[in-house]
Symmetry: C2
Subunit: 444 residues, 2 copies
């Protein structure tokens, strides 16, 4: 993010705080902390209901003041055959970072995870990452070929795939480069940018195992190649064991057919593993006896170590978490009781526990995990909290069912050096300033 | 639906079948049922990949034919800050029935449940039912009052509500009149219209119990009134026991803030109970010592019995299910293996079992229930099936965890007569014709 962009964002935060203050109208923040919320007020006083424009015609400011939306018929039902968010939520959108990539066709935009309530990502907000732009493929033109070390090479139409027994599961998809810019310090002042290359939706499709069994895998088959139909020909090698375990040839997300930018009509779902392996616009599955060492698993998506060698085939996404509110985009709006909210996930199974610190990692409290806690899915966590108006360092750390604990950056760097931009799953720190604004900071 | 509309729909089905046939190109349906799918073909023959327009420049029709979407850069990532479905899915929309109500402000549109893969409804497809049109309320103008038999009458702003510990759950919302037109026979030839006044999303909000406890309920308090801020002043009485059990004051659906047509910024969630009680644009909660007998629980939303009395306070939605594919909108596209798909739900808890019959209720098979099977939520079921090209009568029946079995219409009518339009949870029958078209029929 450029300094200019960063400044713009911080001033936007200030505006948010100012707007909130004025939204409370003539009621000043109560200093009485025995009351649960500073914003509540006893009924019977002035300014009770609909204190906005509706009060203009009610100079006495006494109930019952009847706002316009209670007085006049609203919009009828046939206006929106496919509904969209209300105008007041127009700030909840995916965003990109212009300087990050050379062209928009090989770029990324980010999920506004600070706006998500819970573990499901709405389809319209799932981040995009393309290597050659978004392919647009009519379902009647779609074909999926299975070839290589199989008894019966096959080609499936889209309608063929719909005739197989389906399977549906919630899974997170995280880009290997999520939080990558943070490897060498606090670079981006917004959780949408530091952690927003992730989404979690309900995928429906045919188990890849079903289709491979239709083709019949020869005993020499040990790997598959998944190949995309987009202009980048995105291709990845996947061990046969994983292909036969929990992979889906998916045609649906959150109950409706895939969005074009998520690979319509068909993408691969590779639960828990890095996002570029979830090949979109899936065109071909080849069965082979060894890995292909394609471009996207050699020059890209490997981690350069200090000794000049590379960590290769870094498939699984290790346990990770982040506080989404407060965050740079969600400043603290006032002292007193409120809730710390965040997301945790692991490519190795379920999240077992999330700890939250408000003093930069010295003391930790256990957060509440919200049901459903599912394997290789986002998990929503919350922790009630009361802010005293002083500077605070917020952190979260995830522990998954294997016992793995989300590491500090120092531990990651000691093992991998400072060259990598992939697989940064370290603990994130937010500084809550005395004015409520929140900044991305690096400790130690 | 008028005859004209109905004819239009049937001819649309025919077109769908024709389109599917031509999409398979020169490959005729295989009569060989040992092969799992009639549409698969051995690779190596002509017409393998991208058989659409991409073949135009490849007269030899041999691989590798490289379609345009593999040859040219696609659309970049910044084009859609809030994503929409791809053009090929433009038929997947909510639909209304013009003659059903006098005006669109007091009307309904229907969820295309035949297009849903799984139990989650995308936000853009959740049916709408308004009594005075859709209110549009800016969050800074929103207030929620709690008054009546409480120790401390309170008013909450929107930001106040966001500071309470949230709770999130999947729940179905079904209109009491869903399937109501079918009470006296098979009226509407489409599952979107017969069963589409339902949706199931992940609601997030504050437990109503939390807010009532903030206000402090006097011992004389036994009921609450939930009042909407829309022009109809939608109001319902709810027993305090339910209010303190599982109701949510919700501000979010499927991870993003409520859609305007679902009550933005705040609606009541009353799990398992009829949809009109889930008051949208929630303005006020009053605690009282008896029910209010408001308009919407006396002249409406009661069932007129043959003896002239009314079934009142018919809150819970009994167990119900429907096959969504095949259905009038999802004709059978060919003989051989395929999957029967459907949805089941109960306002009394979890679905325990779904039975499916292909012979009009003589024999039954147990369908697969897809995880997650949640309380007061939709449950997706499937059953692999092979069609032999003959006429078939398809039915499903749900059994919930209380042991309740979804009834036949005859049993409902014997108990309640023929005047009612509410709470029709009877078994639905689809006739699969020899040409694959599907019709809504009534047995017996």
């Amino acid at each position: 993010m450029t300094d200019k962009t960063k400044r713009g964002q911080l001033s936007a935060q200030t505006r948010t705080i100012a707007a909130q203050t004025s939204a409370s109208g003539s009621r000043p923040p109560s200093p009485d902390r025995r009351r649960f919320l500073t914003g509540t007020a006893a009924a019977g006083a002035a300014g009770l209901l609909g204190s906005g424009g509706a009060l203009a015609g009610n100079p006495d400011n006494l109930p019952p003041n009847v706002p316009d939306w209670s007085r006049y018929l609203g919009v009828g039902v046939d206006a929106n055959p496919y509904g969209m968010p209300v105008e007041f939520e127009s700030h909840v959108v995916r965003r990109n970072v212009e300087w990050l990539t050379a062209t928009t066709e090989s770029s990324v935009n980010f999920t506004p995870i600070h706006e998500m309530d819970g573990f499901v990502t709405p389809n319209g907000l799932c981040f995009e990452r393309h290597h050659g732009g978004m392919a647009v493929i009519a379902p009647e033109d779609y074909r999926l070929m299975i070839n290589g070390l199989v008894d019966r090479p096959l080609i499936f139409t889209y309608q063929d795939l719909l005739r197989f027994p389906p399977e549906s599961r919630f899974h997170f998809l995280e880009c290997a480069a999520n939080s990558g810019m943070e490897w060498r310090g606090a670079q981006l002042n917004g959780v949408q940018y530091t952690h927003g290359m992730i989404h979690c939706v309900y995928y429906t499709g045919v188990p890849l195992k079903t289709l491979l069994n239709e083709a019949g895998i020869k005993t020499s088959g040990k790997w598959i190649l998944a190949e995309g139909a987009d202009s980048s020909g995105m291709s990845r090698s996947i061990p046969l064991e994983k292909a036969l375990d929990d992979c889906l040839v998916a045609y649906s997300q959150n109950g409706e057919r895939l969005r074009a930018e998520q690979g319509y009509p068909v993408r691969l779902v590779v639960p828990g593993w890095e996002g570029n392996m979830w090949v979109k616009w899936l065109r071909r599955i080849e069965v082979g006896d060894k890995a292909w060492y394609h471009r996207e698993e050699t020059s890209k998506y490997t981690d350069l170590l200090p000794d000049g060698t590379a960590r290769k085939f870094t498939w699984a996404m290790d346990a990770k978490s982040v506080i989404t509110s407060p965050s740079p985009e969600k400043p603290v709006l006032g002292e007193g009781p409120q809730v710390i909210k965040g997301l945790a996930w692991s490519g190795h199974g379920k999240i077992k526990r999330v700890d939250v610190s408000t003093d930069g990692g010295i003391n930790w409290q256990t957060a509440k995990l919200h049901a459903p806690v599912l394997s290789k899915s986002l998990t929503y966590f919350t922790l009630p909290w009361s802010w005293n108006g002083e500077e605070v360092l917020l952190q979260s750390r995830a522990i998954d069912e294997t016992g793995y604990v989300q590491p500090e950056m120092a531990a990651l760097q000691e093992a991998r050096g400072v060259n990598s931009i992939y697989h940064n799953n370290s603990v994130q720190t937010w500084l809550v300033n005395a004015n409520g604004a929140v900044d991305n900071v690096r400790l130690g």
